[in-house]
Subunit: 418 residues, 2 copies
């Protein structure tokens, strides 16, 4: 074993089209510093694998494989939905993490995830201090929801935004050409439990009032069925058809989700799905318009085939800078994207202390949504537009993208040898 | 007005990612023969516009705009769902068509659609003879359902097949990376009312038993909930997760659609949607696995951003050859794709008489589906694989595809001048 400290990287929560690009950036950068870093390990299935001492040795992966992570969606090492409890409630889990770190000579821990994960990274940093185990903890932002504070945007968001904008444009052309005698209303349900960032991206394609999306439904705006149906009717009468883009997390005036599947994820969040069929039924019943609906679900967040180049570049760069910040002695921080210029868009990587990030949710500012609650404003358009620039196409072989499958060879266990 | 006969082109039924490529091929070809053809008109909203004498004069469109049709999804002139009744039942509608043809000096009629439309084209050819109005009628095949006979495949199918294969691959990577602690089953509902061609395309991505899609549900195979749930359970136990791709037209053992929205289209077909939520609920209830589902609906058939190059080329070529066949004196035919070699795939354009095509539906051969009914066979893979080759990316501007919007200037009415 090298005398240098090893690196541990873990993916957390829902994966994205570009989370592996952050892994690629980090591991590529780490390979530039053989005199300062030992091995780069990755937790199998996120923090659960870390607790179980299931560590993947990335040194078995070729440089080509690590480069190919940049164009491979999903979570290459596995992710998980598992939230560590507070230190006070469950000290033993944190102690177990430190034990694994110690057994495998881990000096640097990188946690690639959303708000919950940044909170976990922060707690591990604190725990290291309390137990006198020197560990550098860096959070790497990731979430299609775009709801982390401080950073200009979250890696994963630009690509889902691009997918939703393009899909809405394409489906809109479809409906427009059929509306005279067939489908009059098309509803696209997109992700976004508490923040409407993803639904908002559909608004980028609208150049004129007559064009889709005619209505966007945001979780930030209470849904009123009468007002909604009137607006659908107006759009159909004015344009011949109506395209609606609805966030899964749209709530009624009592704060109830319009559609609840009754399933909950491990963070205790309601697992949603079904706003589109709800709206379809409402429109059919109230207005008797023939309609179609789509639910893009995982397709939207894994659509690496049409990822935003800006998003891929930022995800890669955040992984790379996370490693460089760690080597420069920074600790308990999260690298962030800083927008240095809006038009043309310019950005650089900055950082923020983890204790400021934890458990905050960045909803859409009210002035990004039109007064009537159904459109995005110019300010919102100016914010989102730069994030979908460029098409970072993956390579193809025989008509299908060549996504890499890693070897994922496990490190022999030390604490619990088999 | 030119003394040469004019051309009338009309789009029919559900649009595709490449129906405009056929229009592009036809109009581009027509512009090469100014000494043989007058103008190229397009019916506004398909046959309904033709009946209403709403004709678009495509000569106002630039060569660049006509070229851009090759990369623009939807129906650029509008399509419709409207089936002409039999000659015996509704002779007056056919007479009205001939009146419009006569008033606008139409000598060539091209009808771009599926089985119903080929039937209509055939009847119009017969009517021309009966009324002694010389009209050349050519059907141009189009349907994502791939259910027309004689042609190797139908333009529109290759692109939806590519979209479904890629989307399944991407979503499969997503589920695989989350399955240890979260979603275990992912269900993708795709189109296909009576034939499983679209669902079958997902099978292209499966190289090993452990890989998605673990189960494909075809309309050709009766659905048995017990057998299905057992197979889902086996897949989850063997691989940690299960990806299901279901055609919208899956039926139970009594021939009932699993999900019926209760809406009907103008052809009297049930409008389906909702197999995915049905299966999700069944799995949750029976196996208690956390699951996610997506319904790609119009997104799949309008996804020009990831269209198959083979499909785009074939659609363009069929439009071009349709025009050339007409000029060569052929009548009442449909140009078709002939597979001259499977590996490497080679094709050419042939033709078939319209009276043989009408109202036939090409379902999947039983030997394209595995014995157990949940997979495609090698024969099926060899058939579909060539059709998704190549990525015919559209041009982009500021992160969004630049789809063309035609001027669509109407020809002054002669029969009913306003």
């Amino acid at each position: 074993m090298s005398s240098h400290k090893n690196v541990l990287y873990a993916q957390s929560g829902g994966v994205t089209a570009v989370i592996n690009a952050s892994a690629s950036g980090l591991i590529t950068a780490a390979r530039q510093y053989p005199n300062q870093i030992g091995k780069v390990y990755a937790a199998r299935n996120g923090i659960l694998g870390l607790l179980a001492e299931e560590l993947i040795d990335t040194s078995f992966e070729s440089d080509d494989a690590i480069a190919a992570l940049k164009h491979t969606p999903g979570g290459a090492f596995g992710s998980c939905r598992y939230k560590l409890k507070d230190l006070a409630q469950n000290r033993s889990e944190y102690e177990q993490l430190i034990k694994v770190f110690s057994a495998h000579n881990i000096g640097y821990f990188f946690y690639n995830g959303g708000g919950d994960s940044q909170d976990t990274a922060h707690k591990i940093a604190q725990m290291g201090k309390q137990l006198d185990y020197p560990i550098t903890c860096i959070g790497i932002p990731k979430t299609i929801d775009n709801d982390l504070p401080f950073t200009d945007n979250c890696p994963g968001y630009g690509s889902v935004a691009k997918y939703v904008a393009i899909s809405t444009k394409e489906a809109g052309l479809d409906v427009a050409s059929m509306a005279s005698s067939s489908t009059k209303v098309f509803i696209l349900e997109v992700m976004g439990r508490h923040a409407g960032w993803i639904a908002a991206a559909a608004g980028l394609i609208r150049q004129e009032k007559s064009e889709p999306p005619h209505l966007i439904l945001f979780p930030e705006i209470a849904f009123n069925p009468t007002v909604f149906c009137n607006r659908v009717k107006e759009a159909v009468e004015a344009n011949g058809y109506c395209v609606v883009v609805a966030a899964e997390g749209v709530k009624d005036e009592n704060g109830q989700f319009l559609a609840q599947s009754g399933q909950k994820d491990a963070f205790g969040h309601e697992q949603l799905g079904g706003v589109a069929p709800y709206l379809a039924s409402l429109i059919k019943r109230t207005l008797n318009y023939k309609n179609h609906w789509a639910v893009s679900d995982y397709l939207q967040r894994s659509a690496r085939h049409i990822a935003s180049e800006v998003d891929v570049d930022q995800a890669f760069e955040l992984g790379k800078k996370a490693l460089e910040f760690a080597l420069a002695g920074k600790n308990a921080i999260m690298p962030i994207i800083v927008r240095t210029q809006e038009s043309p868009y310019q950005w650089e990587v900055g950082s923020v202390d983890l204790d400021k990030v934890a458990n905050q949710e960045k909803k859409m500012p009210r002035d990004f949504i039109s007064q009537d609650g159904f459109e995005i404003t110019e300010a919102c358009r100016n914010y989102i537009a730069p994030l979908i620039q460029g098409e970072a196409y993956p390579p193809y072989h025989h008509g299908l993208p060549t996504y890499v499958k890693l070897k994922n060879i496990l490190v022999p266990k030390i604490l619990n040898p088999s």
